[in-house]
Amino acid sequence: MTRFFVTFFPAKKVNKKLAKPIDCAYICNRIIADIKKAKMRRDVFQAIADPTRRAIIGLIAIQAMTPNALAEYFDTSRQAVSKHLRILAECELVSQEQTGREIYYHFNPDKMKEVADFIEPFRKMWESRFSKLDKVLLTIKTTKK
C-alpha cells in the first residue's frame, strides 16, 4: 500500500529544460515555483482531510455563501470559519467574489477533479480483485466444458 502513496506523492520533478540563459534569479524563481506547486498539491489533501472544511465545501458546492452565513452552520466562531475558508482558498478549492460589501465563497470543482485523481489506489484495489476474477472465470470455463 505504501507503494501507492509514493506514486501519488512523487518527488518533485526537476525541470531540466531551462530555455532561458541560466541566471541565478531565474533558477531561484523556478525552484520556488516548484516548491509552491508541490506544497499546494499537498495542501489540497490536507484541506479536505478536515471534517469542518469538508462540510464547508459541501455547503458552498450547493450555492455560494458568505463567511457569516456559513458560520451559522457550525458551532465554531466566525473567525474559525474564516480560517478554514482561507485554507480552502489558498489551495484553490474555493474562490472569493466580492459582491457589494460582502465576500461570497464559491466551490471550485476543477480543483476537486485534481483531488479525485487521487482515486488511483481505489482503481488498483479493483484491478487486484478483477485479476483474481479472471482466473476464477478460467476455472468456471474448464469445469463446465
Binding site: Q46, V115, F118, F122, W126, R129
Partner: protein, 167 residues
C-alpha cells in the same frame, strides 16, 4: 476487445458516483455466476492480500451476503451486501455496509448504494459497477482515507476500508 483486461474508473462529482468498468474474456453466464455464488465470490472478492470468507448468502431480492474480509495477519472485517433488485444476467442493485459478525450494520460508516450492469458482446462480458454516494463527502471518504492513512501505520485497515467501501 481492446479495453479487455483494463479497469476503467471514472467519477462524476455532480452525480456523486464512481463508475468502474471491466471487460472479462468469459461468457455472461460464467461472469454472472462469479458475482452471485458465494463459493466463487470468496475466490476473488478480496483484493490482495485480503480474501473474502462467506458466512451467509441469500442471493435474492431482499436477501444479503454476509462475509468477512480476512487479512494476511488474520485481521477480520465483516461486511454485508444487501440485494435490492436482481434481473438475472442483466443487473444487480444493492448496498453495502460494514457490520459485525452477526450482520448487524454499523452505521458510523456510510452505506454505499451500487448498481452492477452486465453485458455480453461476442463472447466477452462487460460489467459496469456504478457506486453511488449519498454525499460528496462520502465520495471523498475514499480519497481522504487514502490521504490520511497513507502517512500513518493503519495501512492494513485502509485496505480493508477501501475494500468495504466499494461494491
Amino acid at each position: 476487445m481492446s479495453s479487455q483486461g483494463k479497469t476503467q474508473v471514472s467519477r462524476n462529482l455532480e452525480e456523486k458516483t464512481i463508475l468502474v468498468v471491466r471487460t472479462f474474456n468469459a461468457p455472461l453466464a460464467s461472469v454472472w455466476r462469479a458475482y452471485t455464488e458465494s463459493e466463487l465470490l470468496d475466490q476473488w472478492w478480496g483484493p490482495e492480500p485480503w480474501r473474502a470468507e462467506t458466512k451467509y448468502m441469500n442471493f435474492a431480492e431482499g436477501g444479503h451476503w454476509l462475509y468477512a474480509m480476512v487479512g494476511p495477519d488474520g485481521t477480520t472485517q465483516w461486511a454485508r451486501m444487501n440485494y435490492k433488485k436482481i434481473v438475472p444476467q442483466r443487473l444487480i442493485e444493492g448496498e453495502d455496509a460494514f457490520c459485525d459478525e452477526n450482520g448487524m450494520m454499523n452505521t458510523t460508516f456510510p452505506v454505499n448504494q451500487w448498481i452492477n450492469k452486465f453485458n455480453e458482446n461476442s463472447g466477452s462480458t462487460t460489467v459496469e459497477h456504478k457506486l453511488i454516494f449519498e454525499t460528496l463527502e462520502g465520495l471523498q471518504t475514499i480519497v481522504d482515507m487514502g490521504f490520511e492513512q497513507g502517512f500513518s501505520t493503519g495501512l492494513d485497515q485502509l485496505e480493508a476500508l477501501l475494500a468495504m467501501q466499494t461494491v
